[in-house]
Amino acid sequence: MTTTEPAPGGVPDNEIFVDGADWEDVVDAVVDDTITVNMGPQHPSTHGVLRLVLELDGETVLRVKPVVGYLHTGIEKNAEYRTWVQGTTFFTRMDYLAPLHNELAFCLGTERLLGIEVPERAQVIRVIMTEFNRIASHLVWLATGGMELGSTTMMTAGFREREHILDLFESQSGLRMNHAYIRPGGLAIDVTDDFTQRCEALLELLPKKIVEYEDLLLRNPIWNDRLRGIGIIDAERCYALGVTGPLLRAAGVPYDLRKAQPYSGIERFDFDVPTETAGDSFARFLVRIEEMRQSMRIIRQALDVLPGGPVMVEDREIAWPSQQALGPDGIGNDPEYIRHIMGESMESLINHFKLVTQGFTVPAGQVYEAIESPRGELGYAITSTGTNKPYRVHVREPSFVNLQAADEMSSGHMVSDVVVVVASLDPVMGGVDR
C-alpha cells in the first residue's frame, strides 16, 4: 500500500474546489490519473447528509473534502424572530442527538444575561438529564459506528439501550427528542414521582449492557484491526483546528468543560475525565465507553443529593407557563391552572397572556456560555439588545469544528478508513449545518 503523508498543515497543494458547480467540472479540474468519488450527501454511511468528495489513487485516499450545508435549517437566524423561550424549542433541534445539551447551553446563557439563579432542584435534574443524554448520544455513536464497520449487532444493541433512555426522557418531558424541557429559569415541568426509580433502573441496566458491548468489540480482532492506528490526530493538531471533546481527550488532553468551567453545579460531583494517548479511532472508542461509565457515576451521586423545592424561578415575569402537566400527547397546561386563570384571577390571565404572546425581556448584553456536549465544546454566543428576542445567537458547534479534521485524519488511509474516521468524529449534521 502506498501511503501519502498528509500535507503539512493539512493544506493540499492543489485543492479540490467544490461549490455549487457542475459535477463534471469538479472531476475535470483534477488533472492527474486519480479518480474523484462523490460520497454523499445521499450515502449509507455519511451520517445524514454529509457529502465527502474523495480523491482516490486506487483505494488510497489522497484528499477528503467535506461539503456541508445540505441540512441547513436556519435555526440561528430564525431564533432572532422568536422569543427567548421559543428559542429553546429551536436549539433543541440542532444537534438532535444531544437536544438537552443544546437547551442547557442556551438557557445558561440566557440566565446569565437575566442575572437569575436557577433553583437547586432544577440544576441537579439538569445534570442528571444531560448526563443521560450523553450516554444516549454515545450509544448512538457506538450503534452507527458499529453498523458502518459492518457490525450490525452493535447497531441493534446500541439503539435498544438508547430507547430505554429515551423512554425516561419521554416520561419526564413528554417527548423522545427535541424536548424543550430545559427552559430559561429552570425546567418546563417537575419530574414525576417515579423519576428516581426509573433512573435507578437504568443505572442498573446500562453497566451490564456496556460490558456486553465490550465483550462484543473490545477484544474483537477485526474491530481492533480496523480502528487501531486509523485517523490519528495529536494534541497539537487538535489545538490548531479547535477540535474538542472525545477526540481531544483521546489525544491525551484531559480537557473537559465539566471540570474546566463547571456549570449547573456539576463540580460538586466526583468523576474522572478519561483520556487515552494514542489519538486514534480505537482510543476514541475507549474514551467514549469510559465516559458513559463516568456519566453514570455523576447521575448516581446526583440522585443521592436531589433536593426538593421548585424547578422554576419564582419570578412570575419569567416562569412561563408556571403550571404544566404531562398529558397523553406531551406537556400542556395543567387543568387546575387553566381553571385558575380562566375563572378566578384576571391578573393571572393577563400575566399568562403577556408571557405567551410577548415573552420576557432580557437585559442588553453579550455572553458566551459553553458546556461539554457529547461531541465537545458546545458554546452559545448570545447577544441581547434588551428586547424580548435575541439579537443574535451564534453557536459554536463541536460537530462542525471537529469535521475540519476529517481530511487530515483520513489522507493516506484507504476508502474503508474514511468511514471509520467519520464514524469516530461522530458528526451530527443537524449541528453542523444549523
Partner: protein, 368 residues
C-alpha cells in the same frame, strides 16, 4: 493392469449409479435438470430464511413474521416484489454486458448442483472430475461480478467489482489447495468417491473410522474461511460494503437482476456448505462408521432402501444448514475487514498454511 483399472471403474460406476438415471435418455436429462434447478431455487431460500431468523434472534429482533407461517415466505415475497420493480439500466452503462452480468454470475451456481451428491444415489452426475468441475465452474461467477462492476458506469460499482476480483483471486488459491488436499487423501476427484472414501477411512494405526475433518482440521478451517471470502459474506463483504461503496457492484442493479445477484449469494452459501459437507463432513453419513438404515447390504453406501436414501438427503441438508448457521453467526459477531487486511490474510496466512497442509497430508499418505 489396465483391465483391473477398467473393471474397478465399471464397478464403481455401477455402484454410484444415480437414482435419477432412467431408461429413457430424455427423461433422465429432464430429471437431472429438474433436480439441479429445484435444489438451486429451494434450498437457498431455506438458507436465506434461516439467516433472517437466526440473525434476528442473535440481534434481539424477531425477523420476518408476516409473510407465511412464521415469516417463512418472506424471501418468496421479496422475489415477487423484485420482479415487479422497474428494471433500470443507466444511460451510460454498457447495456449488453450490464444485462448479462447477473446471468453470468447466477448460472454457474446451478451447474454446480449437478455434481453435488445429496444422498446415496441422489445426485445428477458423478463426474470423475467432480471436484475439479465444481471449483472450475464456481470461478466463473467472478466474471459476472466484474462485468457488473465495469458495465454499470458507476465508480462505486467499479471499485466494488475490482475488490471482488482481487478478493476472489486471492481466496481461490487457498480454497483449491485445501480441496486438493482432500483429493489426495481420498485419491479421487469424484465427489461421490470422496464421500465413499470417508466411509472407509481409518485413523492411521487404528480401526476407528473418521471423516476427513479430523485429519484435516486445518484444511477445513482454510476452506471455510476461503469459502466465506469467495462468497463475499460478512465479515468479508468488502465488494458490497454498504457503508463504503453503497452496494458495490450491485449499486446500479434493480428488480429481477438485483434479485439474481442476491440469489447467487445465497446459492453460493449452499454450494460452499455442500462442498464442505462432501469434502470434510462425510456427506450423507450420520456418524462415522454408522451406516444409514438399509445401507448395510452388499451395495455398501449406495444401495439403500427409500428410507436410507431419504435419511441420507436429510442428513446432508441438515449438515449444510448447520454450516450456514455458522456463517450467519460469524456475520453477527464480526465487523468487516479492510481490503488490504483481507489480502494480507490470504497471501501471508492462508496460502502458506494450505501448502503446508498439502505437504503434510501427502507425506502422511505415502508413509501410512
Amino acid at each position: 493392469m489396465t483391465d483391473l483399472v477398467l473393471e474397478q471403474a465399471v464397478t464403481f460406476a455401477a455402484q454410484s449409479a444415480s437414482l435419477l438415471t432412467f431408461d429413457s435418455f430424455l427423461l433422465s436429462v429432464a430429471a437431472k435438470i429438474a433436480f439441479a434447478l429445484g435444489l438451486f431455487f429451494v434450498v437457498p431460500l431455506v438458507g436465506g430464511y434461516m439467516e433472517h431468523k437466526v440473525m434476528a434472534r442473535m440481534q434481539h429482533r424477531r425477523g420476518p413474521v408476516e409473510a407465511g407461517p412464521f415469516g417463512s415466505l418472506q424471501l418468496v415475497a421479496d422475489g415477487i416484489k423484485f420482479i415487479q420493480k422497474e428494471d433500470i439500466i443507466p444511460r451510460a452503462a454498457d447495456k449488453w454486458v450490464f444485462a448479462a452480468a447477473p446471468g453470468v454470475a447466477l448460472v454457474p451456481g446451478m451447474l454446480i448442483f449437478l455434481v453435488i451428491p445429496l444422498g446415496p444415489g441422489v445426485f445428477a452426475l458423478d463426474l470423475e472430475l467432480g471436484l475439479f468441475y465444481a471449483l472450475a465452474i464456481s470461478s466463473i461467477s467472478v466474471l459476472g461480478i466484474l462485468m457488473g462492476g465495469w458495465a454499470s458506469a458507476n465508480k462505486f460499482s467499479l471499485i466494488g467489482g475490482l475488490r471482488a476480483g482481487g478478493q476472489l483471486i486471492a481466496y481461490e488459491l487457498p480454497l483449491i489447495l485445501a480441496a486438493i488436499t482432500v483429493a489426495v487423501q481420498a485419491q479421487t476427484l469424484s465427489l461421490v468417491g470422496i464421500v465413499e472414501a470417508q466411509s472407509t477411512f481409518m485413523l492411521p494405526g487404528t480401526d476407528i473410522n473418521v471423516w476427513f475433518v479430523f485429519p484435516q482440521i486445518i484444511g477445513f478451517g482454510i476452506f471455510f474461511i476461503a469459502a466465506m471470502a469467495e462468497l463475499s459474506r460478512p465479515p468479508f463483504d468488502m465488494p458490497i460494503a454498504d457503508s463504503e461503496l453503497v452496494f458495490g457492484y450491485m449499486t446500479e442493479y434493480t428488480g429481477i437482476k438485483f434479485a439474481m445477484f442476491l440469489l447467487t449469494e445465497y446459492g453460493g452459501m449452499i454450494i460452499m456448505s455442500a462442498l464442505m459437507v462432501v469434502l470434510y463432513l462425510g456427506g450423507w453419513q450420520l456418524l462415522p462408521g454408522v451406516p444409514l438404515p438399509g445401507c448395510d447390504g452388499a451395495g455398501g453406501l449406495f444401495d439403500c432402501g427409500w428410507l436410507g436414501t431419504l435419511a441420507g438427503v436429510g442428513i446432508t441438508l441438515g449438515k449444510i444448514m448447520a454450516l450456514v448457521f455458522v456463517m450467519v453467526w460469524l456475520r453477527v459477531a464480526y465487523p468487516r475487514l479492510r481490503e488490504d487486511q483481507l489480502q494480507r490474510m490470504a497471501w501471508i496466512v492462508l496460502v502458506p498454511l494450505a501448502l503446508l497442509n498439502l505437504a503434510v497430508v501427502t507425506v502422511a499418505k505415502v508413509v501410512f
